[in-house]
């Protein structure tokens, strides 16, 4: 009988009780405290925004799954993640109808077009955000301060704009609250356009003052640490992003401290932490090779700082991640790990045994090919 001695199969070799649904469900769990904090900051407007955007994502997913052309199911929670993340990246007073447009575009254009879960090239939430950024540039740049009195009973007026209509002016509403228009600017915009620098420790907790910021970076890091500890997310990507952003910002700060802000401000302002922990780590759109993850993360960190410093936009995390998403197949290609036995420079290792004899190859797959000769020692030992 021609029974192979060792059967060689392709990965995965180890099975675990970890399905797509489990991973996605735990990501949703870890996002819930962040959403709760967001509602605590901005009250009923933030709650409405989260609900409407997520509902829009789910309904769009329902429609496309119903057409039978999609991978994935409605119950795999991926559309919920897209909706929650998208809502967290939008300003709290973003008109609900625009939020719904963003959610529909995120799932339809960002995911369904490519064939559903696992096939998308770009992070769906960021595709939705990029679309509304281009479509409604004024509304998406209008932030309001957090922790306003009466935020649980009163909507931010721009939230309740009629569909297709211009939202109410936020500056006029802030005036009735005895706050000037500058109070509604994000720390990054304040630094970029007015040269006002916020403290890093205030940014880390998001708690002091009426800053126009998203949920606390400290909380996001804790939730991300939970995911990384449960191995639902690879820790390399966020670490690479934050490391490379900090390094770039620190080098520039060391070069000219009057022109560039300190690296801590760069790390904790804007959406960098949220992007690094939740958006860049999307499994379908990031490289799978460990080396590739470092390259991918470093690219995002570098691009974010460059866009923030040298472009007309105050925030650059979204475009940095989208660019890196586009680059990740290439990154994967150049960071393929060296298979066991190949050694450095394709030379066979000394004194190593090579089980890749054609006779061992499983005949299970019709397309199984004989390995190249160079895996085998070139000369027989004398």
């Amino acid at each position: 009988m021609n029974q192979p001695l060792i059967e060689i199969r392709s990965a995965p070799h180890v099975q675990a009780a970890k399905t797509v649904e489990t991973i996605m469900r735990h990501v949703v769990y870890s996002l819930l405290p962040i959403c709760a904090f967001y509602v605590f900051q901005y009250g009923v407007s933030a709650l409405a925004s989260i609900l409407v955007v997520t509902a829009a994502c789910l309904l769009t997913e329902r429609f496309f799954v119903g057409t039978g052309t999609q991978a994935g199911r409605l119950s795999d929670y991926s559309a919920v993640i897209t909706g929650l993340l998208l809502a967290l990246t939008l300003p709290p007073g973003f008109p609900l109808w625009m939020g719904a447009v963003a959610g529909i575009v995120a799932i339809a254009l960002g995911k369904a077009l490519f064939g559903g879960i696992g096939f998308n090239v770009f992070n769906p939430a960021l595709v939705g955000r990029a679309f509304v950024q281009a479509a409604f540039p004024t509304a998406i740049a209008t932030y309001t301060p957090s922790f306003l009195p009466g935020r649980y009973t009163e909507f931010i007026p721009s939230t309740l704009a009629w569909p297709l209509m211009i939202p109410a002016d936020a500056a006029a509403w802030l005036k009735t609250k005895n706050l000037d228009a500058l109070a509604g600017a994000t720390p990054l915009a304040k630094w970029k356009f007015d040269g006002v620098l916020a403290n890093a420790d205030e940014l880390l907790t998001s708690l002091s003052g009426n800053m126009a910021v998203g949920p606390a970076p400290a909380l996001i890091l804790v939730c991300g640490a939970y995911l990384a500890a449960r191995r639902f997310m690879d820790w390399r990507i966020p670490l690479a992003i934050l490391g490379s952003a900090a390094l770039t910002a620190w080098l520039l700060f060391a070069y000219d401290a009057t022109r560039y802000p300190n690296p801590f401000f760069m790390l904790f302002s804007g959406g960098l932490i949220l992007g690094a922990v939740y958006m860049a780590t999307d499994m379908a759109t990031s490289p799978v090779t460990p080396k590739g993850m470092w390259v991918y993360g470093a690219l995002i960190g570098l691009l974010t700082v460059v866009i923030r410093y040298y472009s007309g936009l105050p925030e650059g995390v979204m475009y940095a991640i989208l660019i890196a998403n586009a680059a990740s197949p290439l990154i994967e290609k150049i960071t393929q790990p060296v298979p066991f036995g190949r050694g450095v420079l394709d030379r066979a290792r000394k004194r190593a045994s090579y089980p890749l004899n054609p006779g061992y190859i499983s005949r299970e797959e019709a397309s199984a090919v004989t390995p190249k000769k160079r895996f085998l020692p070139k000369k027989p030992k004398k």
């Binding site: 479509a135 509304a139 009629w162 211009i166």
Partner: protein, 214 residues
């Protein structure tokens, strides 16, 4: 000449071989000038005029022109009519002329026209050639209008310059930018391919029934 074939010649460009949605030709003006419905219609009519006239002339000259130089002759014929249209639009409305920009002159290199001249007009009598060209031209107008209407409604809240939603309308800036053209074209293509797929599925289901019964 048979009326049925004339009708087929005419309808070919409008539906079965629509230059925008089926052949995906002439994408340059399709994406660039369809910011508003008026621009789309004028661009489409200009192309229609050039298409019909040049196809008629090419068809008349089809036995005189040597094969080796036919493309050069077609280009000269097309360029003549394009120049006429160019000056006519400039005389009628300078604002429209500015809005359409270089795309009027670029009708010369529009592959719909050269394609029609080469594929149909050079092989058929003038009447058939002009009917076919008119169908193609109308199909092109319909294609441009389909894009222009959607982009104008979303991008400016108006249709043919008439406000639809009042002064409070929030324009979708992206729709008047180049990405908007791609999105809307993609949406229409999606709709048509969905329709074609459904039709095919119905037909094959019917065919299956027939074979089962037989």
């Amino acid at each position: 000449m048979n009326t049925a074939t004339t009708w087929d010649d005419f309808m070919e460009g409008i539906w079965r071989q629509n230059p925008v949605f089926v052949m995906v030709l002439g994408m340059c003006p399709t994406l660039a000038v369809t910011v508003s419905a008026v621009n789309s219609i004028s661009m489409g009519l200009a192309t229609l005029f050039v298409l019909v006239c040049s196809c008629g002339l090419v068809s008349l000259l089809r036995k005189l022109v040597p094969k080796e130089v036919r493309i050069a002759v077609y280009i000269v014929i097309i360029a003549t009519f394009v120049t006429a249209v160019d000056y006519a639009i400039q005389a009628i409305s300078l604002a429209l002329y500015d809005a359409l920009g270089a795309f009027i002159q670029l009708i010369v290199v529009n592959c719909i026209i050269l394609g029609r001249a080469e594929a149909h007009a050079a092989k058929n009598p003038p009447l058939s050639a002009m009917v076919n060209a008119a169908g193609m031209g109308i199909g092109f107008v319909i294609g441009l209008l389909a894009l222009g209407v959607v982009r104008e409604i979303l991008g400016a809240g108006t249709l043919f310059g008439v406000s639809l939603f009042g002064a409070e309308f929030q324009p979708w800036v992206i729709m008047v930018l180049p990405p908007g053209g791609f999105f809307v074209l993609g949406g229409w293509l999606l709709l048509f391919s969905w329709h074609a797929r459904r039709k095919q599925r119905k037909q094959s289901a019917k065919l299956g029934e027939v074979t089962q019964n037989a």
